[in-house]
């Protein structure tokens, strides 16, 4: 299945192409979302749509890195306008044979695959969605 491959720092991630609407350059400034969790960078205006931008690094509990975040991957989630802020986008690749990810199970992660000899973490669109919603829901 074809996947959009992008990076957070040096780590490579993939999302099914069908789950990605488009990739855009981040705006100069975001509108802050009051009382939002830290992972929410803010909202941006994309041709009249208000898109909530989430920093993928924080969503996946990854350590902070030095590289600027240069792309927003917009998820195709029906009416929801959700964008993932990532370091950069590499391109579209066919990803086969996804196996279970080692370590702690996260709903946002579907598993891992190999691509050109390197590992790719394949993300689960529904899981990402749930992870974002979970940020907003007081822990139960």
């Amino acid at each position: 299945m074809r996947h959009v491959i992008f990076r957070v720092e040096k780590e490579r991630y993939g999302l099914p192409l069908s789950a990605v609407r488009e990739v855009v350059v981040p705006p100069e400034r975001y509108t802050r979302v009051p009382r939002a969790p830290a992972a929410i960078t803010g909202v941006m205006n994309l041709r009249g749509r208000v898109v909530t931008v989430v920093e993928l690094r924080q969503l996946l509990h990854l350590p902070e890195g030095p590289t600027p975040l240069c792309r927003v991957v917009l998820l195709d989630r029906g009416r929801r306008d959700l964008g993932l802020l990532v370091t950069d986008v590499d391109g579209i690749e066919a990803v086969e044979r996804v196996s279970a990810a080692p370590g702690k199970v996260m709903p946002a992660v579907r598993g891992v695959a190999r691509l050109g000899g390197l590992g790719v973490t394949v993300l689960d669109p529904e899981g990402l969605d749930a992870a974002v919603v979970a940020l907003f829901t007081p822990s139960k």
Binding site: R29, V33, P34, G48, R79, V133, K140
Partner: protein, 733 residues
């Protein structure tokens, strides 16, 4: 559907009081000089009080006012009837009415004034020669604040009885009758005479000369018997004769007037040659079983006859057939195909528009509004001289775009029946499969919602219905054991509350068990032990919306395995609505969907704190002022701003919202906002007031809708997204 009349109570009291005071004044004036004007005015006052009281369901007041009206009416016919005693009697009636209205104002039941009523009746009978008519009073629910919603009164339009053919589901609904879609209608037969409607003479004459002769002689005959209608001078003598059979609805309150209206409509089509029952009988309402038989010479054809009657309420056209003048044949045939054809004519005035096109219109109009706002922004940097012309143009553009927006919005409004129409069938099938008896009652389906919201709701509604029938309602033996009727009941009630549409889906089944739901959620690690212990029942019910949580004993293929409720909640929230669940063990469960009507235009006051801009709904803004926050008096931790005669609690918006800001010391602007019942008025400290703006409110999409205190978002002319604050919720959440 019963109207809650309590909101009219205040108005009833004040207006009835005014009328009664005026009635008293008129009565006093009457003693001096009985002019026709005064008597007319008295009649109107009594009549108004009667109408209002009967609408409110105050029978004692309505009856007394009715008697006064009768008596004044008699005087109106003949002012010589008026004497001192009569004025005394009327005055005491006016006083009693006033006392009754005061009783209502004091939340007491108005006392029936039996002796006075009797006296009045005696006078009415003496003056008019007949007994006064019965006073009809509405069955009314008066809901006091805090009362639980009243039971709906039994609605004759919503039969509780089992409908033949659907043995296990009885369906009651108010507005589910819809026209068949045009595509389902039989193609119009162009050779049929009805297509010649409006073209007299187009029908070949050759086949009717003998008939025409016969017709005119019958018409003359008819004139001697009963000429019931004006002869249409333009009507060709060869106009064919039609036999029309109608029925006045048995629920019609004034069949006589209804019949008269029908008669009037038909008379305009041509020559009425026979009418049974005759006109005088009709007008008096003496119509056996409501059936009316008309013989009519007209060139408009069947379609024309159907058209003339189509818009008359409470009348059913039983049959329309071309009659052979002699002997008359009362053909009573089913006319379904023909009436469907007739309705096809009505639908031709509307066109079907694809939903995507409507979406496109709305998006484009929204963008037009944004573009207009942008233009206005640009105009502000133009040199002074060239501004007025641009501003005028922008103003005009703004007006047009706003009007267009309203039209687009209203074009998108669609009755809920579009999606509730399929529920009865689904209920029947589900009930069959589960071997349960279910009565489904749908009310308020005529209420309209934005099409986009409606489309999203179809599946959630069906799922909730399934949930009620499958998990909510018990098996018949279990119901019997619980002393419930064997037939379970599911009510789908739609109502409007301000700018929201509320849908309740309610069953009278076993109810939900909060403890079980908590246990199930705990087992799946969805909540902590501590959270479970603290959780209110209301919140526990919502656990059923988490994936995998279900307490259903039997897992069937109907409702699935607890999958679905999470989807229901998600969809409802994605359209800007909320889902609430109320449940009582053994009594049943009620799912409440609160939905926005539409995407709306709002007036905002834009304020700045730090680098951020926020919108406050102008409707909630009381005023603005300037003060030095450090110089304000304090009560405990809260600073207080003098406002009017009181002090308002002050909130720094940057603190309230968690926005970084470093306000300069000294004076800063405050916006005084209306709170809700809980919070009262508050003053919000901001950094700058930026001005007012009219914007298209966008509902918050997931996950932003989960944040308390935001009511929506919009995009300003500058392209900047701005959140609209819900101040009371900000303060309480």
């Amino acid at each position: 559907m019963t109207m809650d009349m309590s909101r009219y109570l205040g108005l009833f009291i004040s207006e009835a009081t005014e009328h009664l005071e005026a009635l008293g004044r008129d009565l006093v004036a009457l003693e001096r000089e009985a002019t026709a004007d005064t008597v007319d005015s008295m009649f109107r006052h009594a009549h108004s009080v009667k109408g209002m009281a009967s609408s409110m369901g105050f029978e004692a007041i309505a009856m007394l006012a009715h008697r006064v009206e009768d008596l004044v009416d008699a005087v109106r016919q003949d002012r010589k009837l008026l004497d001192r005693d009569l004025v005394d009697l009327l005055l005491s009636a006016a006083d009693t009415l006033m006392a009754q209205v005061r009783a209502v104002a004091a939340s007491r039941e108005p006392e029936a004034a039996a002796p006075l009523l009797e006296q009045l009746s005696v006078r009415v009978r003496a003056l008019t020669g007949h007994a006064p008519a019965v006073t009809r009073v509405a069955q009314v629910t008066l809901r006091k604040p805090g009362d639980p919603p009243a039971e709906e009164d039994p609605d004759p339009a919503a039969p509780a009885a089992v409908t033949p053919g659907t043995p296990d589901v009885a369906v009651g609904s108010t507005a589910l009758a819809v026209m068949p879609p045009a595509s389902l209608m039989p193609p119009r037969d162009l050779s049929a005479p009805e297509t010649l409607y409006g073209a007299p003479g187009a029908r070949p004459r050759t086949d009717v000369p003998a008939e025409a002769e016969l017709l005119s002689s019958v018409a003359t005959l008819g004139a001697n018997l009963k000429v019931l209608a004006n002869v249409d001078a333009d009507g060709p003598p060869s106009a064919p004769r039609w036999s029309v059979r109608l029925r006045i609805s048995p629920t019609c309150q004034v069949p006589g007037v209804r019949a008269f209206l029908v008669h009037k409509r038909l008379s305009t089509l041509g020559t009425l040659v026979d009418l049974r029952p005759p006109l005088e009988e009709l007008k008096a309402g003496r119509i056996p079983d409501g059936f009316i038989q008309v013989e009519l010479d007209t060139a408009v054809g069947e379609a024309g006859i159907q058209t003339a009657l189509r818009n008359v309420a409470e009348v059913e056209v039983v049959s329309v057939s071309q009659a052979v003048p002699e002997p008359p044949i009362l053909a009573i045939t089913s006319q379904t195909a023909d009436s469907a054809r007739a309705s096809a004519d009505a639908s031709s005035r509307t066109v079907r528009v694809r939903t995507e096109l409507l979406d496109y219109f709305l998006d484009t109009v929204g963008e037009l509004m944004l573009a207009t706002a942008r233009l206005r922004e640009v105009g502000k940097v133009l040199p002074e001289v060239s501004r007025p012309a641009l501003e005028e143009g922008v103003y005009r553009l703004h007006t047009l775009v706003k009007d267009l927006h309203d039209k687009v919005m209203s074009a998108r409004m669609t009755p809920l029946s579009l999606i509730t129409d399929r529920l009865p069938r689904a209920a029947r099938d589900l009930a069959r499969r589960k071997e349960r008896e279910v009565e489904l009652v749908i009310t308020g389906a005529e209420i309209e919602l934005d099409r986009a919201i409606l489309d999203e709701l179809a599946d959630p509604l069906l799922h909730l219905l399934r949930n009620c029938i499958d998990h909510g309602l018990e098996a018949p033996e279990e119901r019997l054991a619980a002393k419930k009727s064997v037939r379970g009941r599911v009510l789908v009630t739609v109502r409007r509350a301000r700018d929201r549409v509320i849908i309740d889906i309610e069953d009278d089944g076993r109810g939900m068990d909060p403890a079980k739901l908590k246990a199930s959620a705990l087992k799946r690690g969805l909540i902590t032990e501590e959270a479970a212990a603290r959780m209110a029942d209301r919140d526990a019910f919502l656990l059923s919306c988490l994936p995998g949580v279900s307490t259903a004993k039997d897992i069937t293929d109907i409702s699935g395995r607890g999958v679905g409720m999470d989807a229901v909640k998600r969809v409802v929230e994605s359209v800007g609505g909320t889902l609430e669940i109320e449940s009582e063990r053994g009594r049943g469960t009620c799912f409440t969907l609160r939905l926005p009507l539409t995407v709306a235009v709002v007036h905002l006051l834009l304020v700045q704190v730090g680098e951020e801009v926020f919108g406050l709904p102008i409707a909630k803004v009381v005023g603005a002022t300037e003060a030095d926050p450090d110089a304000l008096s304090r009560s405990r931790e809260t600073a207080l701003l003098p406002h009017g005669n009181g002090l308002l609690p002050v909130h720094l918006l940057e603190v309230l919202l968690g926005v970084p800001a470093s306000p300069r010391p000294g004076f800063r602007p405050f916006v005084v906002m209306e709170g809700d019942a809980g919070t009262g008025k508050v003053a919000l400290a901001v950094d700058r007031l930026l001005g007012q703006e009219e914007v298209v409110l966008k509902p918050l999409s997931r996950p932003l809708d989960l944040l308390p205190g935001l009511s929506g978002v919009t995009i300003l002319g500058s392209g900047r997204p701005v959140f609209i604050l819900d101040v009371p919720r900000l303060l309480t959440a």
